[in-house]
């Protein structure tokens, strides 16, 4: 069990973060809290990708280019995986833009129904 934990601890945290986000999106009645839960779920997915690209004993994905640095062949195991990182880098920026859209919808709902509680909105829809 402890070996399982040491081998996979990041993935376990990913699942816990995603569970937290999913629970917030379903069970919370306040639309702002739903938005926060959505953002938490998103960071869970980003953490998952970054964990997949991490390598034990590797450096950041910038090749040593200082003056006087010995030019030796670059081996892949020395540097963290850049591919998962760029996918998530763009996902973060797009995530904040779509979060802005979600929040603007919340404001629109508030000016229309005077509340951001799901129950109140449903009441007024009837």
């Amino acid at each position: 069990m402890s070996q399982f934990f040491v081998d996979y601890y990041n993935y376990i945290i990913v699942v816990l973060v995603m569970m937290l986000g999913l629970w917030g999106m379903i069970a919370k009645k306040n639309l702002i809290q739903k938005c926060i839960a959505m953002a938490i779920f998103q960071t869970g997915i980003i953490l998952f990708y970054i964990s997949m690209g991490a390598k034990k004993g590797s450096s950041i994905p910038i090749i040593d280019h200082s003056h006087g640095a010995a030019h030796h062949a670059v081996t892949a195991a020395e540097y963290a995986n850049p591919l998962t990182q760029i996918l998530m880098l763009t996902a973060i920026v797009v995530g904040v833009a779509t979060l802005g859209v979600a929040l603007s919808l919340v404001q629109r709902i508030h000016s229309e129904y005077g509340s951001v509680e799901e129950d109140d909105i449903l009441e007024k829809c009837r």
Binding site: Q33, I50, M52
Partner: protein, 333 residues
Amino acid sequence: MILPLDMLLLSLVLVSGFVSLFIRDLMGAAIAFGAYSFLMCLVWTGMGAVDVAFTEAAVGAGVSTVFFIATVYNITRFSPAKIKKAKWFSMSAVFVVVLVGVLLMKAIPDFPIFGDPQSPVNSQVGAYYIEHAEHDTKVPNIVTAVLADYRGFDTMFETAVVFVAALGIFSILKRTKFKSSDSKPPETSLIIRVATRIMVPFMQLFALYVVAHGHHSPGGGFQGGVILGASLILLALTSNVQTVLKTYTEKTVIVSAAVGVLIFAGWGLIPMLLGSNFLDYSALHVLLPATDEVMARSHSMLIVEIGVAMTVMMGMFAIYMSLASDGRMENGL
């Protein structure tokens, strides 16, 4: 990756995530979410994802917290204490979440061990980028090389998404007919105004450095653009939205966001006119002075990063001013 440090940070991440969902004061929840993002960015730094951590520190901990606060300011701040919840509803929510959690936990042992350099993710195209990026493009920061060159198509459309999101928020919130409130914005304290006036130029200078130096250090168009946008947001926060809109009108903001996408797509189109593929920068060496096929790729990356920075900067500010003023473009917070 240091196990005890990771454990400390990850448990703090979980705690702040819980706090941001359970707190009833929505302003406090936004701040707790900012703390959550910042701790998450420390975790990513520990895993060697410096560019991602940089972006998250600027976006997740900085700008998105401001967005939440702007929205909470315009609606009710407190979530009501007593919510009559159907018991079956909260029970079934917990049941669904636990079911999903158990199924995902079951799948974990099928993954390669955390940090394994030989896993399929790390040994295929990711390894190719590490071994060939500097030779192909003369850019030491592999993340920038992959972002702007190898996967430029992806990045171009991500930039377009930021632009479309800003447009969408305009069309959702913008009001043209409303009673203009004549009330003067409250005077902010002298200390804040002077401090902002000193800080903003340095922020913008640093942002330009981040954009231009993305080839050699963590950074690039997205991070620099967000910091540039944050400097405008800071000005709008300390005085009001109108102060910034005196310099940049709404039209300028949205047009320069569009121009950013145009720079990226247009620069990609030129190689097509030269008989090469879309976004194949190496064909551009005939146009750029004193370059060969490799350096043409390196210089082209800077140009598309500038386009990205313009779109992200103006996109972030457009989103902020719509949210903060509830579509009126008047005073804001």
